[in-house]
Every structure is written in C-alpha cells, then in structure tokens.
C-alpha cells in the first residue's frame, strides 16, 4: 500500500516537473540558438516571464467566436498534460504510464491538432483558415510516418507501452539495430514537422506566406495564448523526451529510491540539453522549405520509418 502511494506521488511529481520544465527547454533552445547565430541571448527565464505576462493580460475574443474558440486552449493544454503524464521522464514503471501507450499519445496529439484547426476556422479570418488547411496537410503526412516509427519500436519490444519498451531496451543493452536507427531518423523528421520547427515551419516569425501554426492561433491573446504557447512547449518536450528516453534509456530510474531518481533527473537533463543543441544546429544549417516541398520531406520521413520496419523484418528476425 505504501509503495502504491509513493508511486502515485512520484507520478504526480514527475508530471508537474514535466510541465514546469517544458518552458525551460524552450528557453534553452532559444538561448543556444542566439549564441549560435552571434546574437545577444535572452536569459532562460525569459520564457517564464513571457508566459506570466500573457496569463496576467485580459484575453480579447472576437464577437463571432463560438465555444470552440474558447474551449480550444484548455483542450489543447489538457491533451498535452495527459500525454506528459504518460511519458516516463525520470523513472519508468510509474502507474500513470499504464494510462496510455504510444498509439494513444499519437491520438492525443491528433485531438489537440484537430481542435486547434477548428479554432483557426472558427473565427473566419483568412489566415486562420489557411493555417488550418496547411496544418492538416502536414499532419496527414506526418501521422503515418510517426505511427510507422512507433510500430517498428513496438514490433521489436513486443509492446506498445512506453515503460515496457524502455525496459526492453535497458535489458537488451547496447544492440546495433538498423531498424532503430531508421525509426529514430524518421521520428526526428516527424518531430521537426509536428513541433513546427525549421525547415517545415518557423516558430519565430509571423510571415504570412509561410506560417502554419502561427496562422491558426493568430487571434488568440491573453491567457488563451499563454496556454497554447505553453502546450506547444510541452509538445516539444514530449518529442524530445520520447527520443531521449526510448532510444537512449540509460540512466532512467528503475526503482523509486533517492539516488536512482537523482541520477534519472540528471541523465534526462543532460540528454535534453544535448538534444536541444542538436536541434539548434539543425535549425541553423537548414533553410526554411517552400510549403510545397514539405510533402517530399515528410514522404522521406515515411520512407525512413518504412525502412525501419522492413529492416526489422528482413534483418533482425530469423
């Protein structure tokens, strides 16, 4: 009973940490990027200040907005919160990990996207509709690639549960699996597209012709905008943690003792910091892609995931 209680408390604490640390990761990415491009960098805490400012401000809502527009920030944030609860950050085998497997995580992302797209259409502005249509185009191509990468993982580990996959990888030790290499590359490309980073979308601009995600949320302000921004930072963190903990699970806590948990926290912090640097290097060397090139980009991601699955079947069995 006591162990049960500890596990639930830990799960709650881990979720809280996940949500609280997400802006930190976004701030770190921004800071490294500024340094990389020889610009003066804002402090990491600036992201928190921006969020606090947005939450203090009064939201302005268009007259013709329906309940969809008002409910969307909460739905999006709720979906991201639930996803964050299901992902092992510091420790595996937490009770919240059993809520959802990887396929449900993809579903949560789809739910959030669906409502964001609806909210973009709801107001009836030209930009909102354009952004929604673009977002759905990207999503329709990104989701199969993501699912294919997920299936490659779960075929190897014989489970779609994240904790089970991570435990399988930890037990197997270092195995050079070509399928994981391809699945990771495909997953990384999908993550770039889904979190709206360069080359698919540029999160830092509001340029009419190129924006995808920003076009949908153009009408939001105040705490609504704050929630959506925060949800986006959580989304970035979700993809980063998935890559870090599924493909390099070493360091994650498998028992609920203080040293193991501390090691887990340090390990994930180091992995995320490194991944952020990798993302910044990628974003600095790549140029923003024309929108009509995006299907090709995602088609390549799909091919990588498909190759991961094929190499698993062809090379790693029998």
């Amino acid at each position: 009973m006591d162990h049960y209680l500890t596990a639930w408390l830990l799960a709650a604490a881990q979720t809280a940490l996940f949500v609280a640390a997400a802006p930190l990761l976004a701030g770190w990415v921004k800071r490294v990027k500024c340094h990389m491009q020889n610009r003066a960098a804002p402090p990491v805490a600036q992201v928190y200040r921006d969020l606090a400012k947005l939450f203090r401000k009064q939201p302005v809502i268009a007259e013709n907005a329906s309940w969809v527009f008002r409910a969307t920030p909460y739905i999006v944030f709720g979906a991201m919160l639930l996803s964050a609860a299901a992902i092992p950050l510091v420790a595996v085998d937490l009770p919240t990990g059993a809520i959802a497997d990887v396929i449900v995580l993809v579903g949560f992302a789809a739910l959030a996207r669906f409502f964001t797209a609806l909210a973009g259409l709801d107001i009836g502005t030209a930009f909102g509709g354009m952004g929604s249509s673009r977002e759905m185009t990207v999503a329709a191509l990104a989701e199969p690639a993501m699912l294919m990468a997920v299936f490659t993982l779960s075929m190897t580990a014989n489970s779609t549960n994240l904790s089970a996959v991570i435990n399988f990888n930890l037990d197997a030790g270092l195995v050079l699996r070509p399928s994981f290499l391809f699945a990771l590359s495909g997953f990384a490309m999908v993550a770039v597209a889904e979190t709206g980073r360069i080359p698919v979308d540029n999160p830092a601009t509001h340029l009419e012709l190129t924006m995808i995600h920003e076009a949908m949320i153009l009408e939001y302000s105040g705490r609504h905008l704050g929630l959506i921004e925060w949800a986006n930072q959580i989304k970035l963190m979700i993809y980063a943690v998935l890559m870090a903990n599924v493909f390099w699970p070493w360091g994650i806590a498998r028992e609920f003792t203080a040293p193991a948990l501390a090691l887990g926290a340090v390990a994930i912090a180091a992995k995320l910091a490194l991944l952020a640097v990798a993302l910044v290097v990628w974003e600095t060397v790549m140029a923003k892609m024309r929108l009509f090139r995006v299907p090709q980009f995602l088609g390549f991601a799909l091919l990588l995931s498909l190759l991961g699955m094929l190499t698993h079947v062809v090379l790693e069995t029998g």
Partner: protein
C-alpha cells in the same frame, strides 16, 4: 532461431552497414541532381567497403580485405572521380532531372525490398552464415539499381544505376558465400572501371550528336524529324509541332 541481440556486436555492425547500403540506394533513387547522385554512389561504395572489411574480420577470410580495399580504390575514389570530372566537363553539374512521381518511385523501392525478402527467404533458410539475413538486402540493392535505370532518362543517372547493380552483386557474393574467388573479383573490378571509361566516351559522343544526355533521343532518327515537321508521334518534343 537466434535472437538479434545475441549474435555479437560485429555481426550486428555488418547488418547495420548492410541496412545503410540499402539506405544509400534509396537516397540515389530520390536524388535528382547529378553531383549529389555521384556522391551518394561514393558513399554506397564506402559503406560497402566497411561492411566487407567487417565480414572479413568476423569470418577470418583475409582475401576479403583485398576486396574491401579494391572497393575503396574503385568505387569510392576512381569511378566517382571519373564521373565527377565528366560532369564538370559536360557542364551538367547543376542539372536536376525532373522525376515524375518521386514518392511513388520510393514506394516502388520499398516494394522491391519486400519482394527480394520473399525471394531470398529459401536461400536464407538453407544458409548457415551469420550474415545470411543480409542476402535479401543485397538482392534489393540490385533491383533498386535496375529501378533507377528504368526511371531515369539521363545517361549519367543510368550509369550510376548500373554501377549500383554491380555493388549489389558484389555485396550478395560477399554475404552469401564470403566473396567470389579473387581472380573473378579482379576481373569484374577491371571490367567496371573500363565500363566507366567507355561510358565517358559515350557521353561525349552523345553530347556532340544530340546536345543532350537524354537517352530518349537515341530512339529517334534525327533526319526523319528534320524532314517531316509536325508529323511526329504523340510523344514527340513540343518544338517539332508547327
């Protein structure tokens, strides 16, 4: 059935490099520019050489080291360099060839992988080598090379496809029987080199006669087109219509 995790790290590395060789085949299939196409061919050669050296290390067949060295000398250095010089000479280094359905082509490549898996399955079951699973990959490399030759019209891309078929044949020999006899390999390597040089001469002639490296032009009689303007077939170039 042995588990993949238990076959040892070197055998896993062979499998990993085999997968990367297959991946470079797909890169070539997707690449429409000439210079990156040559570079990805060179990469395929390099990965092939590493895989061959690993097979030599694991199996203890030292003549495979010679094959690996030969692969580096020919397919990473000599042939790419020849083709590179040729592209600069013909000034086609910035050419991009429009491929009609790029995604369909890649999916076709994936289909070929599945096909070669089913074809290689009986061979794999009879073989006792640790590298037996990679036979399917080598067959797939051959077939994707053929697909590249079919899908492209530019002669240079077709030559790359041809060389990539040769890569697949070499790889299948290495992984299914630990390589052909050295004499045969030397002969084949020499043939490939000669072929690369001959292709170069052929390119220059083609360029001189047609002002293009599009092999579709070879099926057309140039006099016939000149004398009968507007009477060409439906698929003829637009400039022949009045």
């Amino acid at each position: 059935m042995t588990q993949f995790a238990q076959i040892g790290v070197f055998n896993q590395a062979i499998v990993l490099f085999a997968a990367l060789v297959l991946f470079t085949s797909f890169i070539m299939l997707a690449q429409t520019r000439m210079l990156p196409l040559i570079f990805s061919f060179a990469w395929q050669g390099a990965l092939l050489a590493v895989a061959t050296a690993l097979v030599a290390f694991v199996s203890g067949h030292s003549h495979l080291y010679v094959s690996a060295l030969m692969t580096v000398a020919l397919k990473v250095v000599a042939i790419p360099w020849l083709l590179y010089r040729l592209t600069l000479q013909l000034k086609i280094q910035f050419d991009a060839e429009p491929v009609r359905h790029p995604s369909l082509l890649l999916l076709g490549g994936a289909g070929l992988v599945i096909f070669s898996y089913s074809v290689a399955l009986p061979v794999v079951h009879r073989s006792g080598l640790a590298t037996r699973n990679t036979i399917a990959v080598s067959v797939a490399v051959i077939l994707i090379g053929m697909l590249l030759m079919i899908a492209r019209k530019k002669a240079l891309a077709q030559v790359i496809g041809f060389m990539s078929i040769e890569n697949g044949l070499f790889f299948s020999a290495v992984v299914s029987t630990y390589g052909m006899p050295l004499v045969v390999e030397l002969g084949v390597a020499f043939d490939v080199l000669v072929a690369a040089i001959l292709f170069g001469v052929f390119f220059l002639h083609m360029r001189e006669s047609f002002d293009s490296l599009d092999v579709d032009r070879l099926t057309r009689l140039s006099e016939a087109r000149d004398s009968l303007p507007g009477h060409g077939e439906a698929g003829e170039a637009p400039e022949s219509h009045p």
